[in-house]
Symmetry: C2
């Protein structure tokens, strides 16, 4: 028996009048004398199934009375229009078989502590809110692939096991690669994308990245997914356009295709709609610190911007804000200096509205071999480990640019969810690796 072509709840609106058989779990049940209203969930949606005592065989009525939350069952019935129901249909039940009765389902409607829910993550996933968030996440992933694939990018899977650190050696997970050699879990695929964009022009990677941070804030995961495009011959202005176009396309896709999920999450989509349609605000770091000074923040050139500053900067804007040209001193060693203002780098941070923080960080890369070498020396990074990276500048060098975007941060913003831990199926945080 296969369910390859089995009907699912999400496709039922085209089956009105037909008899269908569905399998899933009981999400909710309401008894009203001689009628029972069962809500079946099958992962694709939720369906009200109406059991009327006098219309079904006695064993069906009896079975429907056994259903507890998360009991798996098979139900047969006639699909009928029900405009007030999600999906516009409900099922008039004619048959019902209990597959496995669920006893003592641990996730009850009462408020659970976060620790409890996290330890039950494998079950908590079944909650309607978690299902909605994970569907938005999956839609964003699909939109990311479509965005790059339709534009002729080649996906280049950067390695996770790396011999050296991309941006220093702190916060790295370490493993013994062979008896004599250690490896570190990648924090970014960028260094590996740069040689690949010399081969393929436009490339991107999208996979897990790792930070062994000791931080416990809602903004940090130790394992998270990041998408990183890298484009040969693209300079900073092209990069800003790419970042804006990218966020617009992803946002449009979520608004178009995950409307029901956003509704279930009670997401106010005003700012998402603005993001999908209106040009983003762009400002330089120098403009940003002036703006912040006007708002009472004592920020001076050379200071990094923290979460409060980022939130203050985006106040009053309905779309993300592109902050460009940060001081080189507070940015990564590989960023191209601005020829018109050598203290700053040709870089960008894209800040989400509504306090969701940095969505994207990117830059034009240094393409002059000797300048890059000087920077590596200045940061006291091990030159031999970066030899292959320097080679990109040795053989037919070229300007190029790229950025990174964290999937969970973006998903959190789409969903209006404050905690990243709900935006990944199995979050990995400090003191949290089970299940």
């Amino acid at each position: 028996m296969s369910n390859g072509t089995a009907p699912s709840i999400s496709g039922l609106s085209s089956s009105v009048g037909e008899t269908v058989t569905l399998k899933g779990w009981l999400y909710n049940r309401r008894d009203s004398g001689k009628i029972r209203f069962l809500v079946l969930r099958d992962g694709s949606g939720y369906l009200q199934c109406v059991v009327v005592k006098k219309e079904v065989p006695e064993d069906v009525w009896e079975s429907s009375g056994l259903l507890t939350q998360e009991t798996s069952f098979e139900v047969t019935g006639v699909v009928r229009e029900a405009p007030r129901q999600e999906g516009g249909v409900e099922l008039g039940v004619t048959g019902l078989t209990v597959l496995s009765v669920c006893h003592d389902w641990p996730i009850t409607p009462k408020e659970h502590g976060v620790d409890f829910l996290m330890s039950q993550r494998h079950l908590w996933l079944r909650s309607a809110r978690q299902v909605a968030i994970l569907k938005v996440r999956s839609e964003v992933e699909s939109a990311i692939h479509d965005f790059y694939h339709s534009r002729g990018y080649t996906k280049i899977d950067s390695p996770i096991l790396t011999p050296a650190a991309c941006e220093g050696t702190s916060n790295l997970f370490e493993t013994q690669y062979t008896e004599d050699e250690k490896a570190y879990l990648s924090q970014s695929g960028q260094l590996y994308l740069e040689p690949a964009c010399a081969a393929l022009g436009k490339v991107y990677c999208f996979g897990p990245t790792f930070r062994a941070e000791k931080s416990k804030t809602r903004r940090h995961l130790r394992e998270f997914w990041m998408v990183e495009p890298e484009v040969a011959f693209m300079e900073i202005d092209g990069l800003l356009d790419l970042a804006e176009e990218f966020i617009k396309e992803l946002t449009t896709r979520v608004l178009d295709r995950r409307k029901d999920d956003l509704k279930r999450l009670e997401r106010d989509t005003t700012k998402l709609e603005a993001t999908a349609t209106r040009p983003f605000t762009r400002m330089t770091y120098r403009e940003a610190i002036e703006n912040l000074a006007g708002k009472g923040f004592p920020v001076k050139f050379g200071d990094d911007l923290g979460g409060d500053e980022e939130t203050a900067l985006t106040e009053g804007f309905d779309t993300p804000v592109l902050v460009t040209r940060y001081p080189s001193s507070i940015k990564a060693f590989y960023m191209q200096p601005d020829p018109a203002d050598p203290e700053v780098a040709l870089c960008v941070d894209v800040l989400a509205p509504e306090g969701y923080g940095e969505l994207i960080g990117g830059s034009q890369r240094i393409h002059d071999h000797d300048l890059l070498l000087a920077r590596i020396r200045q940061q006291e990074l091990p030159i031999e480990a970066f030899q292959w990276y320097l080679d990109v500048r040795k053989y037919g060098t070229f300007p190029h640019s790229g950025f990174g975007m964290g999937l969970e941060r973006f998903t959190a913003w789409m969903c209006g969810v404050p905690h990243l831990r709900e935006c990944i199926p199995y979050p990995r945080m400090l003191y949290r690796i089970y299940p």
Copy 2:
């Protein structure tokens, strides 16, 4: 300056008669007196650029004479039809600017040793053969996402950092998660998909997996990408259909869209075309060992099938072969026994033709709590580590099935490339982690 809308070689056939400017690297050059034929590559394709001395300014002629392999340059000219050229066009050059001359490009046409090429992987990627393989790989990835997304699957990213082993503790990379706790790099996302398919019905993961194997064969990578679907209420027959449909769709996509790359790889596509269109052969393990006995292999029930046996089994078939119902004793603990033949498991291995080995391994999973518990005990696995996995069977259990397919193995077969190391951008093998 942006290249967001810059023309690329792959799109030139619609620009015949137009003047375009392109950037890229010199792939090849042939001088014929007062005419120079330059082959420009930009990652999207290859373009013959014709420089005629008497038709260009002297500095353009001079510049074209400086071009060495992998020199980056910008070229302007008129697109014209050239039926014998790849893409059907060539460029009549009117302007040319050298961006960066490449000296001593290390990868020459002479035969290099594998060790040398692997140590130059970041440059070797620019070779036409490597570009073609990586484009096929990327196309397969895109087809994988489209296959599942269009069928309503939700992508569930299984964690890489896991507290315990999926199938025993051997061959695991280990890392210190916190001061007191170790973590291991995932070998499979399956265990994490099973609870997720109870939430979302149809799910898949697709990401890197890790095996700290000591093996040096051409069939082994220590880090490779695996796609794994998992479907609630799907049983073994549905799984076989899903696997066949999946391979058919990916193969069709590669044949349709990567024709030029397959040609460059001199791939004989006869068996790929058969795979795309003809039903796959299916046989049980019991039939397989009879078949092998007839071919002189001394295999008896309970023996695992090695590479030679797999190759022998697929001989004479143009499509992959599905071998089902292996003895439970040689398969993973979580596989559902066949009620009609309890010595065997409801599982499948899909073997590629042409000696490319196992593409897919999958099974229906044990959904009875007590049977699974007995198996975990029998294998002496730590029960407390599997408590959450057992919970899937405790609360509204349901039949479910899934499989895993290695991306590099599939790509190798598509490309007709014997070594997996060429089918991933930066291979990780024993004694090979650089670059």
